[in-house]
Amino acid sequence: MSTKTAPIQNSLIKLLLLIACLLIIPHSTHLKPLFIGLAFALLIWRSLSLVWTWLTPSKWVLLPLALGLGFIVLNNFGMSFGRDASSSLLIILMGLKLLESRNQRDAQAVIYLYFFVLITPFLFDQRIELALYGLMIFFALLFALIINNSNVESLKNPALLRICGAVLLQAIPLMLVFFLLFPRMIGPLWSMPDEQSAVSGLSDEINPGAVSNLALSNETAFRVRFNSNAPLHKDLYWRGPVFWETDGKKWFLTPPKKESFQRAIKWSEKSDDFQYTLMMEPHKQFWLYALDSPSHAPNNAHLSHDRQLMLKAKLNRNLSFELRSSTSTALLQLSKEDKVRGLKIPENTHPKVFKLVQQWTDSAKNTKDIINKALSYYHREFYYTLTPPSLGEDPIAEFLFETKRGFCGHFATSFATLMRVAGIPARLVGGYQGGVYNKLGDFYTIRQADAHVWVEVWLTKEGWVRIDPTAAIAPNRIEHSVDASQQRLNGDINFLINPPEGFNKLAQQLNWLIHSVDYYWQNAVLAYGPEKQLEFLSNFGIMNWADMLLSLAAFSAIVLLLSISILFYLQRHAPDPVQAAYLKLCKRLGKKAGKRENFETSSDYFSRIGKDYPEKNHELKALNELYLKCRYGRKPTQAYIRAATNFRL
């Protein structure tokens, strides 16, 4: 007889069906509904076949079905097999395998497949709540494994549940050792197709209305913890890509060339520099944000001459960077090439624009005067709104002379154009402004809602100077952050101005707490990659893979020994259940009839009580006899335990 070919119990199939549903649910937000539907359909088929056994498909149905479904997946994704395609295939495979499963060995294979599917949602999302959800499923899978290997019919089995729980509890410390010490390498091992899923954030093109769609997003762009003093909120300009080229409608990003990296000058460390750690969310772009302006480039990035930080590879995972920024701009010579780039005016610029600038240049004494005149023009006539009227063929002119309401994108693009027309080299800088300070965790969260665009102009004596036309119109935008939770389309813009009171304060503190937990989750767990691992382990003198493997072996052995010895210890001290029941009974009787003395045997004690309670004497004697028989004889222990717990004086 072989247990391998024993048929699966129906209860186990039900459990497996339930777990399969739980595994598919987190995928439902990012996989195509077609595949979610197919996966559920297969599960429903399997559950129906529990009721009507004739529905159980034969090999000759399943084989074409599997081929057909495989074809559908291929047809949808082509040969590029990334996370979407493989996740879709896996959840369908889950249903197929379950339909095909007959015996214990099949069930084992199904559970292995489930373990693999368990990690696929994390390729899309690694939030802490999803991790806890995964842990719950992991426990259920362990339970399914144990049920499959112990041939029990009912799932109501506390003993097996307890074993699963104990295994999980013992596995967690061992897992932590592996997580910390297992040598990480920088993936991918082979190139994978780019996934089409949109990541919100700045793109490499800016049109006047570009940033407004971000203002509603509460998603985190990055987090910053200052190791030095933090700058004022209005000085929190997080510098990203720099835009030089425009065609009058859009501004384009041309990636800096090698020569630009060579020209970049590293600033030496100064006492009033800002030191900070920046935790970047994967934004699938090359650029890195830094406080205006970064002094040097971290290891895995380059600094360009226009002070952009460019990563060596697209950011596909959470990564943290140690950065240094300085507010003082060093005086520079403007290169000829940059001057040409910074002054290039699109050919189709409207004559009215030239006329407007002409008024200012005629009356102005110097460049600064021109800038101030332009800013006060904005201040006088423009409104700040998240829902500006749409612009047509010539957005700059339409915005400047007709609609006059807009968002930072409108102000910055038009202002830069005006400056160029006035003969002042100007460029556009994309990035974020502000951030929400978390008192509890002492860090800033910079959200997509903080996305911002501003202008830099070249002043002969000062170099590139940051000018933010938005600040001229809506100083609140710069001094406080946009409150994305209060933001409604077509509504007024809400800023985080007033410190909340009462219930709102409590809500704020809870919010801080949640964000702090999230911060540490991101920082400690998600960003723990090859770089962070080396950095962390070097504190303990572990410098390379060989050291890691050695300490991995040592620590896992220690953890295993510890958990085993704890279990042995607990086991050794577990008293005989009969004795335990007896002691419990003595304690209970002691309250009424006097404590049992240490020198008294059970017979002595019971007969002493028997004298005080003659009506119970007979019962006590029987109980004592049962005790002796169960404890020292071969009588089943349950008999005494039951009798002892039911006995009342």
Binding site: I119, L160, V167, A171, I172, V525, A574
Partner: protein, 318 residues
């Protein structure tokens, strides 16, 4: 008994078990071994795939769950060990059996540690028995095996194994017991007759069985120890007391089942023939003796006598 270093590292310890010297064996760390089984190796492949996926996507949570699975598998080895350790196993009495018959090796398994045991398989020469055992409980496991030869049957290695809890590792303990089970000779009738009178044996003649074997010769008061087949039930029903029938043949001569009576046969066949006679005489309630070269058992009957005769035949060496 401590093992010598050579014994400790001998490969036989893992497959055949330690040399037999005990009647009762407690499964402990010295006797329990553990290795991944096929399902465990396939899980290792799954874990490897999960690891590759995690590396490829630089996915921290992928690493977490991959390592958690590996750690849980590793931890399960301990539970597999716990599932076996502490069991007390001893062979107990088996039913007597004849050569070429099914022999049952009975193992008495005691759980003394207040732990429920799951899905333990005892196997011996390809025969398996799987059992669960409740805490503080005991059971008797019969392991059938075909007995080929008469004499003492010594069980080979009996292996206790388990894949509990997750079916990833097989923990096993090979046991050799200092235990032997008596196998009686096969009873084969060669068509010969046993002789009635012991004194005639010298002539070597084979006398026919007296026709009066079953002749009724009268009643005698029943004495304890006599076969119940001989009780005169009619007299008992008439409430005359318990009497037993006396048969003339029984009185006239004691039967000696004699090695020399089957002179033409080869020795094994002789033993088989004698065995057959012992059984048939006992069945008929006759009093019979056994005479082998060097062995003589005086005529008697009853189960104990039969067992004694069969044991002599089983162990007889010519």
């Amino acid at each position: 008994m401590a093992l010598t270093l050579a014994q400790r590292f001998s490969l036989k310890r893992f497959t055949r078990g330690e040399p037999a010297y005990l009647r009762e064996i407690e499964l402990n760390h010295r006797r329990i071994f553990i290795l991944p089984n096929k399902a465990g190796l396939s899980l290792a492949i799954v874990i490897l795939l999960m690891l590759i996926a995690s590396i490829n996507y630089n996915n921290s949570l992928g690493f977490v769950f991959t390592f958690l699975l590996a750690a849980a598998a590793q931890t399960s080895t301990f539970y597999a060990y716990k599932n076996l350790s502490g069991l007390l196993i001893s062979p107990t009495k088996s039913k007597p059996c004849f050569a070429n018959d099914q022999l049952e090796i009975n193992l008495y398994v005691i759980e003394p540690n207040q732990r429920a045991r799951w899905q333990i398989t005892a196997s011996h020469q390809g025969q398996q028995q799987t059992f669960n055992l409740l805490a503080n409980n005991q059971t008797i496991l019969p392991l059938p095996i075909k007995a080929n030869h008469r004499g003492w049957y010594k069980p080979k290695t009996i292996t206790f194994s388990t894949s509990f809890p997750f079916g990833l590792f097989k923990a096993w303990s090979p046991l050799l017991f200092d235990h032997a089970i008596l196998v009686y000779p096969q009873a084969i009738d060669r068509g010969l007759n046993y002789q009635l009178d012991s004194k005639d044996q010298i002539n070597g003649g084979i006398l026919s069985v007296a026709s009066g074997t079953d002749d009724f010769a009268g009643l005698k008061p029943y004495q304890t120890g006599q076969s119940y087949r001989h009780i005169n039930w009619k007299a008992f029903a008439a409430e005359k007391g318990i009497y037993s029938n006396e048969f003339s043949a029984e009185q006239s001569a004691d039967i000696y089942l004699d090695w020399l009576s089957c002179a033409d046969l080869d020795p094994e066949s002789k033993i088989s023939q004698l065995c057959y006679w012992v059984l048939s005489c006992e069945k008929k309630g006759l009093s019979y003796g056994l005479r082998l070269p060097g062995v003589e058992l005086t005529p008697n009957n009853g189960n104990a006598h039969q067992a004694h005769c069969l044991k002599q035949l089983a162990l007889y060496e010519y």
